[in-house]
């Protein structure tokens, strides 16, 4: 059996990040990617939080093909016939940390694959790994298209479905309860038009999340991200919520209806849809993260469930890049010690535990539970809209005082035993 130092299954952000770290140190690394090129099988909403990974391969982020730097954050509560938006634009978003950028995966992943190859790493595309090879409990390599290749360590970064790692007994199969499906259109618009419509300077971007009627009350939301000369407009829905929905609403129709809303349609005027895509997002949280290492292997990125949906922030790509980085460092220390068993490889679990990746996920461990509350997608967005509409409504007959409008709405919609209990729950967010 042919053998390399390290095999990386999947050439997405986690796999390429690991490959970059290893190739930079002269390790013989082979990335096997089933798409025609890195990024061919990847989708983002989406936005990459750069600040958490600024120190990881800092030389890369200066030249990475990022779209727009997000300077305007918008949150929209949607009800039938009404929507309320909170928009935040801060100097800090523009100039200093925090820093996040909208991205497009085909561009980003391909560029990173080129960087890996510049460092001497091998990235083989159009090749699907068929199975993970084991010798007892130890992972010893992979099988692809009838060829077997061995490695001291195999880094499995195959993506959210985790089919290969599941089959190899390294993790549980992906279940509906722990995943959401996101689907979007990329709609081309001239850069100047985007800047006009979203009040942006050149190079600046907006990120908008929609909560409420966009998902017909199902767990999830809508999103809109401005790329350089296109926008990504889409919907995310929990798969469990989708399948048990008594209305049996076709998922793709949620996006069609979203686009037709009177407050959304004008934003798309003159635009041309150029791509339609869908992808699964792990949302099970830290409790559903499988064992991250074992004899001869490490799990990285979405395959390891390393993603976090905290409603207002959605993270996966920064986690993927960080996990790839730590995987590389662990492999380097394993090579130093000439030990590729769990004894040394478990240093990866520890490194991730001490990094922002697992720390953030630990902090957010109650979020999946809280996000199951249907009132977040129905009652609360509706209540916010009812209150705001009332505040701005001037009728023939003199109405209530502003403070009375607020207090009666609060009492009716927000001050119930149920809400109080939910507020207690929210303290954990």
């Amino acid at each position: 059996m042919e053998k390399v130092d390290c095999i990386i299954v999947g050439g997405g952000l986690a796999g390429l990040s690991a490959a970059y770290g290893l190739a930079s140190e002269g390790v013989e690394v082979l990335v096997i990617e089933r798409g025609d090129y890195s990024g061919a099988k990847n989708v983002t909403g989406g936005r990459l939080y750069v600040s958490p990974i600024a120190e990881i391969y800092p030389e890369l982020w200066e030249e990475a093909p990022l779209e727009r730097r997000v300077t305007r954050e918008l949150l929209t509560f949607m009800a039938e016939g009404s929507h309320t938006t909170v928009e935040v634009a801060a100097d800090r978003f523009r100039t200093g940390p925090p820093r996040s950028h909208t991205v497009l995966r085909a561009k980003l992943d391909q560029w990173l694959a080129d960087k890996v190859m510049e460092k001497g790493g091998m990235v083989i595309t159009k090749n699907r790994v068929d199975s993970i090879l084991k010798d007892g409990d130890r992972v010893v390599g992979i099988s692809a298209g009838g060829d077997e290749i061995g490695a001291d360590v195999t880094i499995i970064s195959e993506g959210a479905l985790g089919l290969l790692s599941t089959e190899a007994g390294l993790r549980a199969e992906p279940v509906a309860k722990d995943h959401a499906v996101g689907f979007k259109e990329i709609i081309e618009l001239p850069a100047e038009t985007i800047q006009d419509r979203w009040h942006l300077n050149e190079g600046e971007g907006a990120a908008q999340l929609f909560l409420g009627s966009v998902t017909n009350g199902l767990m999830g939301g809508g999103f809109l991200y401005t790329n350089q000369d296109s926008i990504s407009l889409g919907v995310v829905v929990g798969i469990d919520a989708l399948r048990w929905n008594p209305q049996q609403k076709e998922s793709y129709k949620l996006l069609d209806e979203f686009k037709e809303l009177p407050q959304i349609k004008p934003l798309l005027a003159g635009g041309e849809t150029v791509e339609y895509s869908a992808h699964t997002i792990p949302e099970g949280g830290v409790r559903k993260v499988p064992p991250l290492s074992g004899d001869g292997y490490l799990l990285a990125g979405d395959a390891a469930g390393l993603a976090l949906n905290a409603l207002v922030t959605v993270r996966g790509m920064d986690f993927a890049i960080a996990s790839g980085y730590h995987a590389a460092r662990t492999v380097l220390s394993a090579r130093e010690r000439e030990d590729f068993s769990t004894t040394t490889l478990s240093g990866y679990d520890q490194a991730l535990g001490e990094s922002f990746v697992l720390k953030e996920m630990e902090k957010s461990q109650y979020i999946p539970e809280i996000m199951e509350n249907p009132r977040l997608y129905g009652h609360y967005p509706q209540a916010v809209n009812a209150l705001m509409e009332d505040i701005f409504t001037v009728r023939e007959e003199p109405g209530k005082k502003l403070s009375s409008k607020v207090t009666s709405a609060v009492r009716r919609d927000f001050l119930s035993m149920r809400t109080v209990m939910e507020m207690f729950g929210m303290r954990r967010v």
Partner: protein, 91 residues
């Protein structure tokens, strides 16, 4: 723009053999939900005139929603072979 037109925008390298296999016996005996019919963001599942559950694998976006939505293990789902399936140009 209807769903078929949206899929028409994407690049698909079509494998004659489907990467999704449906066990129709399970679909027609055990399953009363049939959530595959509405969860797929590409609307690929359809019950044909003979009452068989079918999937138009050629337009698959490879999200895996159907795999997770199916309660009855009626689907055998693999990644398409290397060089096949959707190839996102933007992502």
């Amino acid at each position: 723009m209807n769903i078929e037109a949206k899929l028409g925008l994407d690049v698909f390298k079509i494998d004659e053999e489907s990467h999704i296999k449906i066990d129709n016996e399970v679909c027609s005996t055990v399953c009363t939900t049939k959530s595959c019919q509405w969860v797929c963001p590409a609307n690929l599942y359809e019950i044909d005139d003979q009452g068989n559950n079918t999937v138009n694998h050629e337009g698959c976006l490879e999200c895996g929603t159907c795999l997770m939505a199916c309660d009855h293990d009626a689907l055998e789902w693999s990644y398409p072979q290397g060089g096949f399936g959707v190839q996102y140009r933007l992502g």
